[in-house]
């Protein structure tokens, strides 16, 4: 149950403009139900190489060109997605490449290709048509040569030569368990075609590309979004939901960069944690990774060689939120090891301040995350409430860290990151400076109306 969209690569929120054709020169077809129907219309047409799909009007516009055609350019678009036929935009070949319609025009030996419409310097019997795609002087495979696309050359002493275009399988290799694999193989190891990630048929699934932006769930290419042992895909075979793909492993596995691994704390999701914590946050001992009891699992150390699944140490082999393990308690299959401390991810502080830093007059001008500070006198990206004129005593110079509002947590600045109005600076409290203790007798507590709740428990709530 393959979808016609399987022949297309999508660029979300993108419009293809042709500089020599007015935007409206190609008509829109509004009577389509969805992008799949558009693909169904475009796919059999030899002069349809791509189409726009308008996500709000649900109309589609068939196009005879792609982003690699002359006089075209890609443009961000709020309404359109651009679907292009894979054969025209992929830079690798499937099988022997008879379907290749890319624009490579030099041979593996570096010789320029002769235009197919020319009979000189090398005479031949091919005549370019829409069907055989013998366009310009692009590498093509009109005779099904097992070595893939080739061309006649402009060198009369070399009649023709292969272009050496890699197969999609060889063009990208798998490192570790393939979480980062972004190749263009769309077949499984048994040769079944993959289902698109942005479709829910024939197999519904949770991996919506828009929700997993970091997993590269493009079109129907093999990917590994869930920490499986290697890239896989859902298949177009209704009888087989998902299957691994047969992809080459990269050469020698370079060990993880030393700075990416941590022993006593974890950074980010803890994928680089290599410490020896071996209990869960609840104190339950972890199960050994090379054991299958009390919990059977598929994380065999040998299949995750680069994840260091030694003994029963907390690890994160599948991109979860934090290091975790299977537990030794039968009733609790897995648990996180949140008791492992997070590594501080602040940049190194470059200066120090006294008290709350109200008198700090240094020139540090970046936040603790390393983001450059906004100038106090600037109005973008953030409209400041504190300006050099509104609080002259604070000496708000340039974009230096200051503390114009007496913030107890130290000097801060507005940031140049549009998403972060303000942040504290790459500064630390001077060693000799101890903050006043707050553990004094509590003072009075003025409250608003919050903090109220219905306190009596209604047993019927247990009944759905």
């Amino acid at each position: 149950q393959r979808s016609p969209l399987n022949d297309f690569q999508v660029l979300r929120g993108t419009e293809l403009q042709h500089l020599l054709h007015a935007a409206g020169s190609r008509s829109w077809q509004e009577d389509v139900a969805d992008a799949e129907e558009c693909a169904g219309r475009c796919r059999p047409l030899l002069d349809c190489r791509a189409f726009h799909y308008n996500v709000s009007s649900q109309g589609c516009q068939l196009l005879p060109w792609t982003q690699y055609s002359p006089h075209t350019r890609l443009q961000r678009s709020g309404q359109c997605d651009l679907f292009q036929k894979k054969d025209y935009v992929r830079s690798c070949i499937m099988d022997n490449g008879v379907g290749y319609r890319g624009t490579l025009a030099t041979t593996a030996g570096g010789l320029p290709c002769q235009r197919w419409s020319h009979k000189f310097p090398n005479d031949h019997r091919y005549t370019p048509t829409l069907r055989n795609g013998l366009e310009e002087n692009f590498c093509r495979n009109p005779d099904g040569d097992p070595r893939g696309p080739w061309c006649y050359t402009t060198d009369s002493s070399v009649r023709f030569q292969s272009c050496g275009i890699k197969s999609c399988r060889e063009a990208a290799c798998v490192r570790c368990n393939g979480e980062e694999y972004r190749g263009a193989v769309d077949r499984t190891e048994s040769g079944r075609e993959c289902q698109r990630w942005d479709l829910q048929h024939p197999h519904p699934h949770p991996f919506e590309p828009g929700k997993f932006l970091d997993k590269g769930l493009d079109d129907n290419y093999c990917r590994n979004p869930d920490g499986s042992e290697r890239p896989w895909c859902y298949t177009t075979d209704p009888q087989l939901p998902r299957e691994f793909c047969d992809l080459p492993r990269c050469g020698s596995e370079a060990p993880p960069r030393p700075e990416a691994t941590t022993l006593h704390c974890f950074r980010g999701k803890g994928e680089g944690y290599r410490g020896s914590a071996n209990t869960t946050a609840a104190g339950v001992p972890c199960q050994r990774w090379d054991a299958q009891s009390p919990h059977r699992h598929s994380f065999a150390p040998a299949k995750y060689a680069c994840k260091d699944l030694r003994e029963n140490f907390c690890r994160n082999p599948d991109g979860s939120e934090a290091p975790w393990c299977f537990t030794s308690r039968p009733g609790m299959r897995v648990a996180f090891c949140y008791q492992i401390r997070r590594c501080a991810d602040d940049v190194r502080s470059e200066d120090c301040y006294h008290g709350a830093g109200e008198l700090y007059r240094g020139s540090v001008s970046k936040t603790r995350k390393g983001v450059a500070c906004q100038r106090w006198a600037a109005k973008t990206p953030h409209q400041p409430q504190f300006t050099p004129t509104s609080v002259p005593h604070a000496q708000l110079e340039e974009n230096f860290c200051r503390n114009p509002d007496g913030d107890r947590h130290g000097p801060w600045c507005y940031t140049t990151d549009p998403g972060t109005p303000f942040d504290y600076c790459a500064l630390r409290r001077c060693e000799s400076d101890q903050p006043p203790s707050i553990l004094e007798p509590p003072d009075q507590v003025p409250f608003e109306e919050c903090g109220k709740r219905v306190d009596h428990w209604r047993p019927h709530l247990k009944l759905r």
Binding site: P206, G210, K211, F212, L213, D214, G268, G270, T279, T280, A281, A282, G283, E321, A322, G331, M332, A335, F336, Y338, Q339, R342, A344, D345, D346, R368, K369, H382, Q385, D405, D407, R408, H409, G410, G419, T420, P421, F422, Y424, P435, S437, I438, L439, E440, P441, P442, D443, Q444, V445, P446, F447, E448, C450, G451, K452, R453, V454, D455, W457, K462
Partner: protein, 228 residues
């Protein structure tokens, strides 16, 4: 929550990841803002697409369409001052307040909860078999001074943290509760005095539990809301 009882805590929210799984608690401090623990997120700039806050339900796995359930996407995360172990989450839209969803008060700046104050924690986290895993559990704990707490914790508890006593029976927060509230009843109001953060073990009998002291960071909370 270990050693708790099914209960009601309308300011306690459930943080849900992209697969819709509960992974941490949080406290509704403004209609559009939830305070939770830094530990729950991989970084201050983690992509938030697909993360949601669920409010208005007592059930760990509420059915779609359950009356009162509110599912609000998280659009922004602001990390607290260094050492606070806190994160503020901004919601895509304000939560609708009703009998099942309420705000919790913030304490005055630098307020120190008197030892002996009755407080409670709430969450959908690990119960270690002591409670009902399918609903929100609430447990009562009593505040002790940092001085007393540091006896057992050998001076490691900071002033920006606070402690509750370790009862004889195992009672306390555990995995899945992090980010949730330590709410204390003061002057006829529930006040968010502490945030549940990971301790070395859960609910260890006779062992004081450590929380982030919210009153130390109330000024930061107000500033984030004001400058947003």
């Amino acid at each position: 929550v270990v050693g708790g009882q099914p209960g009601n805590s309308p300011w306690t929210v459930s943080l849900r990841n992209r697969q819709g799984q509960h992974f941490c608690g949080g406290s509704l401090v403004k209609e559009q803002w939830v305070l939770t623990a830094r530990q729950c997120f991989s970084s201050c700039h983690a992509p938030l697409v697909g993360y949601e806050v669920w409010l208005g339900t007592l059930f760990h796995n509420p059915q779609p369409g359950e009356p009162g359930l509110q599912r609000v996407p998280v659009t922004k995360m602001v990390c607290g001052p260094s050492g606070s172990q806190l994160v503020l989450l901004k919601l895509e839209r304000p939560a609708a307040l009703n009998q099942r969803v309420a705000l919790i008060c913030l304490p005055p700046e630098q307020y120190v909860v008197p030892p002996g104050t009755k407080c409670e924690i709430a969450g959908w986290g690990e119960t270690k078999g002591t409670g009902d895993d399918t609903v929100l559990n609430v447990a009562s704990l009593r505040v002790i001074s940092n001085q007393e707490c540091n006896v057992k914790h050998r001076g490691r508890v900071q002033e920006s943290e606070m402690c509750t006593e370790g009862p004889l029976a195992p009672v306390g927060a555990c995995e899945g509760d992090y980010g949730g509230p330590l709410a204390c009843f003061t002057l006829d109001c529930w006040v968010l005095e502490g945030i549940i953060i990971p301790n070395r073990v859960c609910a260890r009998p006779r062992w004081p539990a450590v929380f982030t002291r919210v009153s130390v960071f109330v000024d930061w909370i107000h500033k984030v809301l004001r400058l947003d």
